[in-house]
């Protein structure tokens, strides 16, 4: 059974969730990862959705944070203020999944504007990056996505470098970036490559990154999903391949 690169991404994303975590997540691959975690090692993990959905039982496959498939079986249907204020800013949500057009060496994220091109904007991303203690980013590894410094900082990572987050008044944060080439991590420092995806090389990472990331001494290789994880992902979590068109193509 060949594992697709983006399936690896989802599996590694799922591993960032601990059992019992509260996780704020949007749609797409992060939601697939969070749902996979709930179905495997983290049955006690609970989801919060920015639109006001508290602890849903997701049915396949939501395409929006207000999709009825994402409101299903929830503990509460509330408001954005409840989700982002009463849970995230309140400090009850440990892990947040984020995307963005750019993520820089200090894990700052730009989702507002790149080179005069208008992007969607922050949404809840700034709030999540400000208040969660762990941020996970799942993204394709492209050079333009990883500049040394974002053209615009929408959501804070470690800002200009060590100590700046605390100086700005923000709490401590751990960032994990999972790409189709590697895993990068940072905690009040620049992103460091801590693992490679199976088959990926250091050189490929360097070639596709706009800054020169450090590599951990003990560089690991990301484990592929086991057959049961793959089955869940393919048959139960995204059976219609909404987020895996490449699975249809095969």
């Amino acid at each position: 059974m060949t594992v697709l690169p983006r399936e690896l991404l989802v599996a590694e994303g799922a591993r960032q969730i601990r059992d019992g975590d509260l996780v704020i997540v949007g749609t797409g691959l992060p939601l697939l990862a969070a749902t996979l975690a709930q179905r495997t090692h983290a049955p006690g993990a609970k989801l919060v959705i920015e639109s006001g959905v508290v602890f849903p039982k997701v049915v396949p496959t939501p395409v929006s944070v207000v999709d009825p498939r994402l409101m299903h079986g929830a503990a509460r249907h509330g408001s954005l203020f409840e989700a982002l204020g009463g849970l995230v800013q309140r400090g009850l949500v440990r892990t947040g999944f984020l995307g963005g057009a750019e993520i820089d060496q200090y894990a700052n994220i730009n989702s507002t504007t790149v080179a005069g091109k208008r992007l969607p904007g922050s949404g809840g991303a700034n709030d999540i990056a400000s208040h969660c203690s762990q941020v996970v980013v799942l993204t394709d590894h492209e050079r333009r996505r990883f500049p040394a410094r974002c053209g615009y900082v929408t959501s804070p990572g470690f800002l200009g470098g060590p100590g700046e987050r605390a100086k700005a008044g923000l709490g401590p944060l751990r960032v994990k970036v999972v790409t189709d080439l590697c895993v990068m991590e940072a905690e009040d420092c620049a992103l460091t490559v801590t693992a490679l995806m199976p088959g990926a090389t250091r050189q490929a990472v360097l070639d596709n990154t706009g800054f020169a990331p450090a590599f951990a001494d003990a560089l690991e290789t990301v484990l592929p999903p086991d057959p049961e994880e793959l089955r869940l992902l393919r048959e139960e979590i995204d059976p219609a391949c909404v987020y895996f068109p490449e699975r249809i193509a095969r």
């Binding site: 949007g26 749609t27 797409g28 959705i49 920015e50 639109s51 006001g52 959905v53 049915v59 395409v63 929006s64 944070v65 207000v66 999709d67 009825p68 498939r69 409101m71 299903h72 249907h77 509330g78 408001s79 954005l80 203020f81 982002l84 204020g85 995230v88 800013q89 700052n108 507002t112 005069g116 091109k117 208008r118 992007l119 969607p120 904007g121 922050s122 949404g123 809840g124 991303a125 700034n126 709030d127 400000s130 208040h131 615009y152 900082v153 929408t154 959501s155 804070p156 800002l159 700046e164 987050r165 700005a168 008044g169 923000l170 909404v242």
Partner: protein, 298 residues
Amino acid sequence: MHKLLTAAEAVGRFVTSGATVGMGGQNINRCPMALVHEIIRQRVGGLTVVGCNLSLPLDMLVAARLVVRTEQGTGNLERYGTLFAWRRAVERGEVTVGDYSHLAMASRFAAAALGLPYLPTRSLLGTDLLADMVAAGVAVESVDPFGGRPLVLVRALAPDVALIHANRADTAGNVVIEGVTSHEVDMVRAARVTIVSAEQVLPAGSFSDRPEQVTIPEAYVTAVVEQPFGAFPTSVYRAYDFAEAEIKEYQGLGRAGDEALREWIADNLGASFEEYLATRDADGRLRGALADRMRSLV
């Protein structure tokens, strides 16, 4: 007080040129499409559109050249892509934008809803987003006088008129929303005027046996409009799913250009929302299918 009007009457009376319009709904859910269509029909322009996630209704208003400014957390349709007309208008400088985080926008509405000039937040710190807000005079960097930590004060925002679509309302203006309410409750409580369209309008007092289930009480509601499928092609929780093909078609035209969108508007909006629905779904089969699908999901 009897507040039931037609969409044409409500928009004609309460949405004025140059107004700041608080946009209800989020993304593909419960957008006030019937009311927005009516604004386009009546050509009410110079609008500032504010909300948290702005989606289809904003893009349509921009394509119709009725918008001069937006303030929001995001402008997009998630899986269905960017808002093409809005993005082009912003990039051409025809529409100015105030960017916020969702919590910052929600806090602005909540501040106005509570009669306060601002609310504090611990979001935004250290970012360009904050720098832009400070430069625009809508945020101030501050320090918590109790604990000494940095804090941001975000300025209250009271729309001139808020537009929402709900599951049910009564003629007194009491509103019941099912599913999430995004930013809408505080936005409505903040607004000077609120127009609510609803799938169903019932006699005044119809909810008074279960007042806890009233999402927004009549104290905040100016006009009520009855419009079944009034959020189409977006969804209404427990009533109908969103119409993916319709949204994809709109986005396809949006990608093609503003002219294509304006043609679609001219060809489809008709004289009323009922006419529009009849144009898009003559035999009602699509609507039936969306309602069936929602039933299978809740």
